[in-house]
Subunit: 256 residues, 2 copies
């Protein structure tokens, strides 16, 4: 099965998409979608670019993407495209935005590639094991205690929705995919992810799993990925993180 | 007086410092200072580099810096060095860290230059007016209403110290100097700054003033800069932002 998909090719695609988006950075007009979130010409063109690459190479696969929606999700393999995760950061001139491309096999994360153009960092994981930043293996934090310098990622709405008693620092990076990368590399102990959709998460979940991370719903319920294939939101916020700390992190977060 | 200091030279210095620090990015050993915050060889070397440049060119000026402390602050001109603002971000592989170099004249912000190496962005302002990102003029937001996509910067400890009822987004960038830059360019409506010291703030305050921003203590008291020359912390958190929104922003933030 690992020969089904050319992982080096997928990494090249997200780099190509990121290079394309970067041409619009600090130079783009912003529009609003129906849900009032932002979209730019860069989001639309990068999704189109990735859809064309996928259709040419894997014509029998399904594809879902943030801008063009859901299609053929009954296929064995379904690609999940977030052309720019962190569009708000992108239009603010902030550096943490990324091109995220994940692939599910029968509803299970199979591979993922996330490219952060400003850092020129590509995080990726595939079916043959291991998670990587560029060519370097990464893994979640092995910490068993929490220090005042440790941090977790939080959503940009967390201040209104949650009371967070984490004893270290919080950072609002503005990108779910970036949260996944910084947890996977062990820089963040964990992250609180809001009610994201599969295109935000698919690549990140493949990378997190390969890096040894765990996840759980804020209520303690397990996280089911396959039901998100129809484009729906997570039924509740989730916590991702180092497995040995996951329940402690969950305990620090309560709804306001 | 505007011929006292060569602003183009100051911009070149922060770029030189940033290029030096960048060589350690994703490749640095971390130590702890007495206050348990982090320091790296990069912080120490960049401060030393800037102190040497200043001493050679302006031998009669005073200098204070995050790593080597306060010296000759009774001089008419005092330089304020933060060699890496956002050391925590730097050691986490996050992109928002910067070299910040400000100059005070008789206790008043006179010029500032902040360089963000990963973005290759230099924000600056001098005595002859105007604030700039690279060669482009910047200004604070002119917004008079607050939208759900608008954002403010908050401190990494805000979750434990404050209740924040801002109706938009919050972001924890991990760098006070970066908060100042994103407010000055109008990307953020404002920011909540913790009890920072003058090396964190001096450059940012010069840029903010030139960009049309205002500031106020969380209690509503005015912010006095000159008392910080001895290296002490701000007596209380402050709010920086677009003047027409400053009191509204202050009203959204209460101590927990």
């Amino acid at each position: 099965m690992s020969s089904e998909v050319d992982l080096a090719g997928v990494r090249a695609w997200v780099r190509e998409g990121g290079a394309h988006a970067r041409r619009y950075f600090n130079n783009v007009r912003v529009e609003r979608k129906a849900d009032r979130s932002w979209v730019t010409q860069a989001d639309q063109e990068v999704e189109q670019l990735l859809r064309e690459r996928i259709a040419a190479r894997y014509p029998h696969h399904g594809v879902m993407g943030e801008e063009q929606g859901v299609g053929a999700i009954d296929r064995e393999f379904v690609w999940c495209i977030d052309p720019i995760d962190g569009t708000g950061a992108f239009v603010s001139g902030l550096p943490l935005w990324c091109v995220s491309l994940g692939l599910l096999h029968r509803g299970v994360p199979y591979l993922g590639a996330i490219y952060l153009p400003i850092l020129d960092d590509c995080y990726w994981a595939g079916p043959s094991g291991g998670a990587f930043r560029n060519d370097e293996p990464i893994a979640v934090s092995g910490a068993t205690t929490i220090d005042s310098n440790d941090w977790i990622g939080i959503t940009s709405y967390a201040h209104r929705q949650f009371q967070i008693d984490f004893p270290g620092k919080t950072r609002g990076l503005g990108s779910v995919a970036a949260d996944c990368c910084y947890v996977a590399r062990g820089s963040a102990l964990g992250a609180l992810i809001g009610r994201a959709r599969l295109w935000d998460l698919a690549a990140g979940l493949a990378i997190l799993r390969a890096a040894g991370a765990a996840m759980v719903g804020l209520s303690g319920a397990p996280v089911a990925v396959a039901p998100l294939l129809d484009g729906s939101k997570l039924p509740e916020p989730i916590i991702i993180g180092a497995p040995q700390l996951l329940e402690r992190l969950r305990g620090y977060i309560t709804r306001r």
